[in-house]
């Protein structure tokens, strides 16, 4: 379980703080696949970094709580960490799948070494040959050839490299895997294969997968729950199927309405305008300027993310 409570995370000194994640509350439970969707600059990647506890390169937490509690699958012991201390669990209870660009793996190291590098002690038991065999079997189970282990990164195709990155994160056997746009640069056929692989891993390890993507199609295919982010806030959380069937927040409604359908003729209409600047966000609801239903209260008062039905928190005055 990992939870943000009124977390304020962002960049810069107090006087000119830019909150890319502003007063966000979300609880991500065990054994589920949670998606975070939103357009560029909405703070979804910062949210992911906060969940990972990666407070470097100027990112810092200014308020609220970030708490994690994981129960080790093997030993049954429970660890609890907060905020920046999450880094003590990296490549142990938490692992991470980056977007597999050309340069995300060390160009001078074979894939097997890059899998072994950073493994926690509990996965390193036995001899080197034994470990290699287990890795090879693991890869085979995911439909990857053993020969991949002997390859250098430049010898792999984009899709292959992404699958290797997923495998590296999964072999750690963590309780939580965070994936940042893992399929963005790939064609849809390869995308599908990688998404299925990630679901397969999650089912097998019974852990938690958090997936950040701007592609609603990706979320529709694999996530159990979906959080919609807009301008540093989460505007709606709910079971993915329900969100797609009946979006509640006006922003979500606009997103879903903009999705093309098969066989459709003509162009879908999008939303006018663009998200507000995070440097000086508006006082009221951040979506008010673009919202078709906006009233005076929306411009004056920021709506809270409140339960509107059993499992659907929505941040809107009129829901």
């Amino acid at each position: 379980m990992i939870a943000l409570e009124n977390a304020v995370v962002g960049y810069g000194p107090d006087k000119a703080f830019i909150a890319a994640v502003d007063d966000v509350t979300i609880t991500i439970g065990d054994n589920e696949i949670v998606g975070i969707a939103g357009e560029s600059g909405c703070g979804k990647s910062t949210l992911l970094r906060a969940l990972y506890g990666d407070f470097t390169h100027g990112l810092r937490q200014r308020g609220g709580e970030i708490n994690a509690r994981f129960t080790d699958a093997g030993t049954g012991t429970t660890v609890e960490k907060r905020g920046a201390n999450l880094s003590e669990l990296w490549w142990d209870q938490i692992s991470y799948v980056p977007q597999g660009s050309m340069s995300v793996l060390n160009p001078l190291m074979k894939v097997d070494k890059q899998i072994i590098d950073g493994l926690p002690k509990r996965e390193k038991h036995g001899s080197r040959a034994d470990l290699r065999k287990r890795i090879a079997n693991f890869l085979k189970g995911l439909g990857l050839e053993e020969s991949v282990l002997e390859a250098y990164p430049h010898q792999l195709s984009g899709g292959m490299r992404q699958r290797v990155l997923v495998a590296i994160a999964a072999f750690v056997n963590p309780r939580l895997i965070l994936a940042d746009e893992p399929t963005t640069a790939l064609d849809v056929v390869v995308q599908k294969r990688i998404l299925l692989m990630m679901v397969e891993i999650q089912r097998r390890l019974k852990n938690t997968l958090v997936l950040v993507s701007h592609d609603l199609g990706v979320h529709y295919q694999i996530t159990d729950r979906l959080a919609i982010a807009y301008a540093g806030k989460i505007v709606e959380i709910g079971p993915t199927q329900k969100i797609f069937a009946a979006p509640s927040h006006p922003y979500t409604q606009a997103l879903i309405a903009a999705l093309p359908r098969v066989g459709e003729k003509g162009q879908r209409s999008g939303l006018e305008g663009r998200p507000p600047s995070l440097v000086k966000p508006p006082q009221g609801c951040r979506f008010a300027a673009r919202c078709p239903e906006a009233q005076d209260i929306c411009r004056a008062q920021s709506p809270e993310l409140k339960m509107r039905s059993a499992d659907r928190p929505v941040a809107c005055h009129f829901r």
Binding site: D54, W90, Y96, S103, V104, L105, N106, P107, D117, G118
Partner: protein, 332 residues
């Protein structure tokens, strides 16, 4: 099979480069107005020797023969290439007649090589070490101090630095000898310590100047690498700083440095002219200097040919070992 083809192709290029270099070396002096035979005859005449016309002709012939200037230009060229590539024979030195050029070179080579190889390697290791740390932790005071020293020393013209060192340590404080004088029986401890003692100052002058360059270049590499995605990924894997530095940053930063090192070693065959003159060090640089001053064509041809061959060899060696250290080259 592919590897063999690669090596064979590389060897062909290597030979072509050498032949091309030697060709230029053969034709350039012949384009000039000086004829070494006539120059020698003039020298003999100037010394007051009296010869009649037939004697002069005979002397001219035998000199032309000695200098390898018989026959047409093409015949000379062919003989020249064959002689150098097959026998390594550059003929006798003209200024130290009749000592063969090769013997002079072989005498000077160990001096130059010992001095330059040692000082280049020391500067390389030291410079890369300091530059790597300075690039990795630019905020650390030790790195800042070392880098400051390197940047201060780097732009000083070499001859000024060497001269200052020489004046300070050989003249003012008289710690090291002013000119190189080697004493001791062959292979004795005395000889070795004498060589080392005489080489410290010239070696130090080279290390100090070259060191700064290595620091600056590897630092630039390192600070660029720090922003690479695979370094960020390694950090997010929870790897220790030392591990990231030694397994991720170092191997990637050092690759271009290896290329430069090999080229430096190739250039060593030019000797280090200023060092050897200033410290009166009996190496190749001093030999080339003598050859130029004395108009010793054979010696000049010999030393320059050797330098062409050395640089070509160094380049080929890099090309052959590079696939071993950079897998991206290997499979292309």
């Amino acid at each position: 099979m592919r590897l063999l083809r690669y090596i064979a192709g590389r060897l062909v290029v290597y030979l072509l480069v050498i032949v091309f270099g030697l060709t230029i070396l053969f034709f350039v002096p012949r384009l000039g107005p000086t004829d070494p035979v006539e120059a020698m005859l003039a020298k003999v005449a100037a010394q007051g020797a009296y010869m009649d016309a037939s004697q002069v002709d005979r002397l001219r012939e035998s000199l032309a023969d000695t200098f390898g200037l018989n026959g047409t230009l093409l015949e000379q060229y062919w003989a020249f290439i064959k002689r150098i590539l097959l026998t390594g024979d550059f003929g006798p030195s003209l200024s130290m007649y009749p000592t063969p050029v090769m013997e002079l070179i072989l005498n000077a080579l160990p001096w130059t090589f010992g001095l330059l190889l040692t000082s280049t390697l020391i500067a390389w290791v030291l410079g890369n070490f300091v530059g790597l740390l300075a690039g990795w932790r630019p905020e650390s005071n030790a790195a800042k101090a070392m880098e400051g020293v390197a940047i201060f020393l780097y732009p000083i013209p070499y001859y000024i630095l060497a001269l200052v060192l020489s004046i300070l340590f050989s003249y003012v404080w008289q710690i090291f000898p002013l000119t190189t004088t080697i004493r001791g029986a062959p292979w004795s401890w005395d000889l070795i310590s004498s060589i080392v003692w005489n080489s410290i100052l010239p070696a130090a002058s080279i290390v100090i100047v070259v060191f700064g360059w290595w620091v600056i270049s590897v630092k630039a590499q390192t600070s660029q690498l720090k922003d690479e995605e695979f370094i960020r990924y390694a950090r997010l894997k929870g790897l220790s700083q030392t591990r990231i530095l030694t397994r991720y940053v170092l191997p990637n930063a050092i690759l271009p440095q290896i290329t430069f090192l090999a080229l430096q070693i190739g250039l060593m065959f030019n000797g280090s002219l200023i060092t050897e003159i200033l410290f009166d060090y009996p190496g190749l640089g001093l030999l080339i200097y003598t050859a130029v001053l004395q108009g010793d064509f054979n010696l000049l041809m010999g030393t320059i040919s050797l330098s062409v061959i050395a640089v070509a060899t160094a380049t080929m060696v890099i090309d052959l070992i590079y696939p071993l250290i950079d897998p991206r080259i290997r499979h292309r």
